[in-house]
Symmetry: C2
């Protein structure tokens, strides 16, 4: 620290954890550098709506420099972190190395295939905006190809969309996709026989939304089935092959689109620390979120497995609270006080199920239907950053709600279609 | 036509020419099939604003099936036309072949490098949305790279943006880029020295906007220079090399970004007809827009060179009027009347020069400044298709005008950055 003035806090990752950590340090006597390999923050909770052609990608992507502009002590660098030299307190990147006094690691999570054969090669994922755009383009292109395909077997295969994983992402995407098909695409493709279109949701457990109260789980499955989703429980995937999914019971699903939402794991950057990586690729940290043996390094969000806190879900509220907590702990240490153990305040969980329906588990209460959906709507609009983005998203939702019109049915950019 | 009921009109290309041709045939006693390799119509006049991070690509892209939904006799097929079998009256595509009774060809134009060495390999273009997104991503990524680049030579090269071609596209893009840099990026990158940033506009002739009245041409150059654009006239480009432009006088410009707006030519599909292709890759057609020897084929828009009409510019009004005209001629022929020769009504030309300034050449009158800019604004908002797109574009323009804020400063999707 000597000779460089104020201590330098480097934050890796501009997701919820990193962004809230940086903002907590605004106007404090530290120099902050936020590092991300993208130039924008992504509002992940609405990612599935990009894939379902409901909202523009731009509506949930925020230029990071714009978000930080008001804070004179926070800088940004677009760089990919490749290694962490904990002894020299320096990040190795694809650009010049970045020295730090304190480090907050918030790189998030990546898809986890559990080694299921063919998933990495043939499935789509919903973990970042590029993937969501590629999936949207692929779905729309599948309908275009089917519309000119004379062979009924090939056509049905093109029009079968298989989602693997019945957690919140799989459930929300299945509902949004079913509604995209039910009205907007049905009107777009008057020559197609929509009896040939299928949305299949595969879940390995005995019910959707594992971890939710039983009444909500039953409601979610019933609701998705009413939307026309073929919900299959206790369905174990053995392999994903070109054009089909093989189940463990030997059955095949002929399908042109496979979306894998069945697993996430901590970002591989966790392994760069040389520390033991626990279940789900997460790194065990002290209750204060500090790395054992390196109290100047904090881990927050999806990558963190804080001792004594149980296995917290990989969701935005955890990341936001941990990012804020880690930043406050650094400020405590700088003031000569001990860092405090993280405590999570669960604000509840909301999962939409298409138009007018959602499940909510808030303040220990479980409820469903229209009230849950309204709550979901309000919470997500308020949490979205930026007035103009709220306006754009609200106008998309209003157009969809009033006119059953999805405004972003675009295969764009064309080159992203084959990218996963 | 026998046995298939109503005659089938196939329209190739869903740009201005093709879309207006199809709409003219709505509710008429013909079966219409519109064919395009994309699933959306692009509002080209605002393409440069996508590249300058001013508006989202989605705001100027319209799902074609949505535009045609009201017209029961018009279908759409997403396909790439590879050849035209004029004897069998059939299009060969990447899918099943498409038979026609009448054909309206409106494939538009593509960039034309005039064989200048290195342009195809190293320059960006502004002829379609994918290219505009790739250019936007590259500009923003150049600033991000420059912000972490310690070497001043490399940094200046990254921050030098060279536009080749002083026609309307080059002029409008230069103005929009200069304003993106002047305020939004200057605020985003407080650590950069903006003395190192340069926008250079190279024009081979003695003035910008060839073909415009002299007073407008002088105004445009003066206005761009006031915005900080380095306008160089009589500058002939010899070659584009990696990281630099070589001029015919032997000088070099070290530059990380080259945008080629100096030439367009008719779509290569014109050559598939086996007809002589004239200057600029355009196909000579009769005054009625019919192909000599094949009166069932019409060519409209950028690809058409109608006999006796002079050399019309490759702009939206020409395409719209010709598309409408060709469709009406087909209806005339079906009613047993002779097709009529095309007459162009010039609605005038408008070119913006950044905030509050434009040049207008309308009804034979030339004017500049704020009135011309207001006219440009109104005309483009009215011409944009779709209420929601108008709302989104207007909100982008309002944010920019009031807060000097470009809302779409996103490198997204990341994979498109290196794509041209």
């Amino acid at each position: 620290m000597a000779g460089r003035g104020r201590p330098r806090v480097v934050v890796v990752g501009a997701g919820f954890g990193g962004l809230w950590a940086a903002r907590t340090l605004a106007f404090e006597p530290v120099e902050v550098l936020l590092v991300d390999r993208r130039n924008h923050h992504t509002f992940f909770p609405l990612l599935y709506q990009v894939a379902a052609a409901e909202i523009e990608p731009e509506a949930i992507a925020f230029p990071i420099r714009g978000l930080l502009r008001r804070f004179p002590n926070i800088g940004f660098e677009m760089a990919e972190v490749r290694a962490i030299n904990v002894e020299a307190r320096r990040l190795e990147t694809d650009g010049p190395p970045i020295p730090y006094d304190f480090l907050i690691l918030a790189p998030g999570s990546v898809e986890h295939t559990f080694g299921v054969s063919g998933v990495a090669e043939h499935a789509f994922f919903l973990k970042n905006l590029d993937q969501a755009i590629a999936l949207r383009n692929h779905i729309l292109a599948s309908f275009e190809r089917a519309a000119r395909e004379p062979d009924p077997f090939q056509r049905r295969q093109m029009l079968t969309f298989t989602i693997i994983g019945g957690g919140p992402t799989g459930v929300e995407f299945a509902g949004a996709l079913a509604e995209l098909i039910a009205r907007p695409l049905r009107r777009d493709f008057p020559t197609l026989d929509f009896q040939e279109v299928r949305v299949i949701l595969l879940e390995a457990m005995e019910g959707l939304l594992p971890g939710f109260p039983g009444s909500l789980r039953a409601y979610a499955a019933a609701r998705l089935r009413r939307l026309g989703v073929d919900v299959r429980l206790m369905a174990m995937v053995e392999a994903v092959e070109p054009g089909r999914v093989r189940l463990r019971d030997g059955a095949f699903i002929e399908t042109g689109t496979v979306v894998w939402t069945a697993g996430v794991r901590g970002n591989p950057l966790g392994e760069a620390l040389g520390l033991p990586v626990g279940p789900g690729g997460r790194v065990q940290v002290a209750p204060t979120l500090q790395v054992p043996g390196h109290p100047e390094i904090y881990i927050v969000g999806d990558l963190a497995l804080p001792e004594g806190a149980g296995k917290l879900p990989m969701v935005a509220p955890v990341a936001i609270q941990q990012g804020t907590w880690a930043a406050r702990n650094i400020l405590r240490v700088l003031r000569g006080r001990p860092p405090e153990p993280f405590r999570y305040r669960d604000p509840g969980t909301l999962v939409t199920l298409g138009r007018n329906a959602a499940v909510a588990h808030v303040f220990g209460r479980a409820f469903t239907g229209f009230p849950a959906w309204l709550l979901w709507l309000g919470v997500h609009l308020v949490r979205l950053i930026g007035m103009r983005n709220r306006l754009v998203v609200l106008s998309s939702w209003a157009w969809d709600y009033l006119f059953y019109e999805r405004v972003v049915r675009l295969i764009l950019p064309a080159i992203a279609e084959s990218h996963r």
